[in-house]
């Protein structure tokens, strides 16, 4: 047996230095997260109170600025409507890609453009909906449902891409077994493939919902800003991101404090959605 020459001390030192450097850089990457959470809790919890969640913003620059009730309500309503549009649509496109389109030319073109859509900045989606629906005054100018459409456009590629991945995980043996038993194609797709993939589809969709909930730019041009709680989808509607954006622009301590409180609320909302999505994923039989 021959022994290998020992690793020279210079090489060993380089190895150690680089390992430590990689660790340090990883820890540095986490510093902003820690700081953001720290400041959100420190500034945001101070703003939280019962009134904070149960009153609308008053719009008064001095005096009582009011709470964020309308913003919370608006975010939930608009994101829910956006999900109703984007999730069935996105899952449908993914079903086409996996069950019918496969690796065909048309399917690949669709896939490519879905990827393109993922990269389109959210502000451009907002502009688009603004041009098509707001400027042309279809059903008034700014409206909550237009905000939902902008959010849905944003969610669509995310839902489609994540659904495609999950649907691809459904084993072919299941499809073959159902077809061999004489089930028609549509039945296999809707009754076998879809239910098998359901938990995974939910995970992908909820992550898309979480992303949409935090978006500001598309709502700026579509749902616009308003103080009061609004139940009518054809009127302007407030939302948490817009409320924060507006308050940040005001040089007034109490409004800035409200912004921190609203930011903490928004982050908690997004984290809850993400957490539930992960739990659903864990229970999934696929993957």
């Amino acid at each position: 047996m021959t022994t290998l020459p020992a690793v020279s001390s210079r090489r060993r030192a380089t190895d150690r230095v680089m390992r430590v450097a990689l660790l340090v850089l990883t820890l540095i990457a986490l510093v902003p997260l820690v700081l953001i959470v720290y400041y959100l809790l420190k500034e945001g919890l101070g703003a939280w109170s019962k009134d904070f969640f149960t009153t609308d913003p008053t719009g008064r620059f001095l005096g009582d600025p009011g709470g964020i009730k309308s913003a919370i309500f608006g975010t939930i309503v608009m994101v829910a409507l956006a999900s109703l549009i984007a999730i069935p649509f996105g899952v449908g496109v993914a079903l086409y890609l996996v069950e019918y389109g496969k690796a065909g030319r048309f399917a690949n073109i669709v896939r490519y453009f879905i990827d393109v859509m993922t990269g389109v900045p959210s502000v451009v989606f907002g502009l688009f909906v603004y041009i098509v629906l707001v400027v042309s005054q279809i059903g008034g100018t700014f409206a909550a449902w237009k905000g939902s459409i902008a959010l849905a456009l944003l969610m669509l590629p995310v839902v489609t891409r994540s659904s495609e991945v999950v649907l691809n995980l459904v084993p072919d043996s299941l499809r073959e077994a159902a077809l061999a038993l004489g089930a028609p194609r549509w039945r296999v797709t809707l009754r076998v493939v879809l239910p098998t993939a359901l938990p995974g589809l939910m995970t992908g969709s909820m992550l898309a919902v979480a992303r949409a909930a935090g978006e500001t730019a598309p709502l700026l041009f579509t749902a616009a800003f308003v103080f009061g709680t609004q139940f009518d989808l054809s009127q302007r509607m407030n939302s948490l991101p817009l409320q924060i954006f507006n308050d940040v622009g005001q040089a007034q301590d109490r409004l800035v404090q409200r912004a921190w409180g609203a930011a903490l609320t928004l982050v908690v909302l997004v984290l809850l959605l993400t957490l539930v999505a992960r739990l659903v994923q864990r229970r999934s039989r696929l993957a």
């Binding site: 019918y100 502009l127 809707l190 978006e215």
Partner: protein
């Protein structure tokens, strides 16, 4: 059930499907194909409508004039987007210079060095950075990060004032802070895609390096990095696409001054920020509105090009991975 029931009913054989069932097959197929086609239609419509609405601005200032003229003056109704283009480039480059090396380091650490037990929690923490909404980054950036950084920024600015893009007085909202925030925002996606690529490095490659006596770092240098280079480039490009298009956080921390920044520590403006910031005042002024939509269109085309390039790299990396085992088998 109706498809497979054994006794023949209504004159059709046991193996024949009911007419309803037969009609549903193509129906579902065409419905889903229609949905997919609608996506393509939507994107085409998207582009054309933006172009039509932006046309007045391009007609007035010319395509090149709009992009390259250094004069964005709302009160005089002159719209040359060069300051915005430069601001977008400066902030994105800062984001890449800071964000990409850190993202690659985290990806390497998590895939190659991290103790098994810490891997999952660390990955989740890095991914949490992506869950923070953009407006929250802006809020934190302007009220916490920017004020704390002024001192160090001024010091760097004074020491490096002999370089272009350095020197002068640091303003509190500035391009560097915007770039730094963008670096944090693109980190999770660049890290995630790099990790994905790195986990597909064939173990044989890594074992070969180690068995030849390479240290861990040398193994990373010899096996991991060369194999995942294309994927990492793609990841960085995707990050660049994100950085170019990010709107709200940048609008809050960059200062929104429509001049070509003299230093990275002066106020600036980006294509995305101008749309979000001036949209309200532009609603009643057709030229201004067309100019903002034109800025949006330039942004759209820019991100399209960057993303197309990114996809090309990432897809090539993925294809490369698939063909390697096949090649070795044959």
């Amino acid at each position: 059930m109706e498809a497979g029931s054994i006794p023949a009913r209504g004159g059709r054989s046991a193996l024949e499907r009911s007419s309803r069932s037969r009609a549903l097959d193509p129906a579902l197929r065409w419905f889903l194909t229609g949905l997919a086609a609608f996506v393509l239609f939507l994107i085409a419509f998207f582009f054309i409508r933006l172009f039509i609405e932006a046309k007045p601005a391009f007609d007035k200032f010319g395509y090149l004039g709009f992009v390259f003229d250094n004069n964005w003056d709302v009160s005089k109704e002159i719209f040359g987007a060069w300051p915005l283009v430069v601001g977008t480039l400066i902030t994105s480059v800062i984001a890449l210079l800071i964000g990409v090396p850190v993202a690659i380091a985290t990806a390497l650490y998590l895939t190659e060095l991290c103790p098994r037990r810490a891997r999952q929690p660390l990955t989740i923490l890095i991914e949490l950075l992506a869950a923070v909404p953009s407006v929250v980054y802006g809020l934190w950036g302007i009220f916490v990060l920017a004020p704390h950084l002024v001192g160090p920024e001024q010091w760097v600015s004074d020491k490096l004032s002999f370089l272009p893009l350095f020197g002068g007085t640091v303003s509190i909202p500035n391009c560097f802070v915007a770039g730094l925030i963008l670096a944090i925002m693109i980190l999770p996606i660049v890290s995630a895609i790099s990790r994905e690529v790195m986990t597909t490095v064939p173990p044989q490659d890594k074992e070969a390096a180690l068995s030849l006596g390479a240290t861990r770092w040398e193994m990373i240098q010899m096996s991991v990095l060369p194999y995942s280079r294309a994927g990492i480039s793609g990841a960085a490009m995707l990050g660049l696409g994100r950085a170019i298009g990010e709107t709200i956080a940048v609008t809050i921390v960059i200062g929104n001054a429509p001049n070509v920044p003299e230093s990275i520590f002066s106020q600036g403006y980006t294509l995305a920020a101008v749309v979000a910031n001036e949209f309200n005042e532009a609603a009643s002024d057709p030229t201004h509105r067309a100019a903002l939509i034109a800025a949006g269109l330039v942004l759209f085309v820019l991100t399209l090009l960057v993303n197309a390039l990114a996809r090309f790299y990432v897809n090539r990396a993925e294809r490369g991975q698939r063909s390697v085992p096949r090649g070795m088998a044959g």
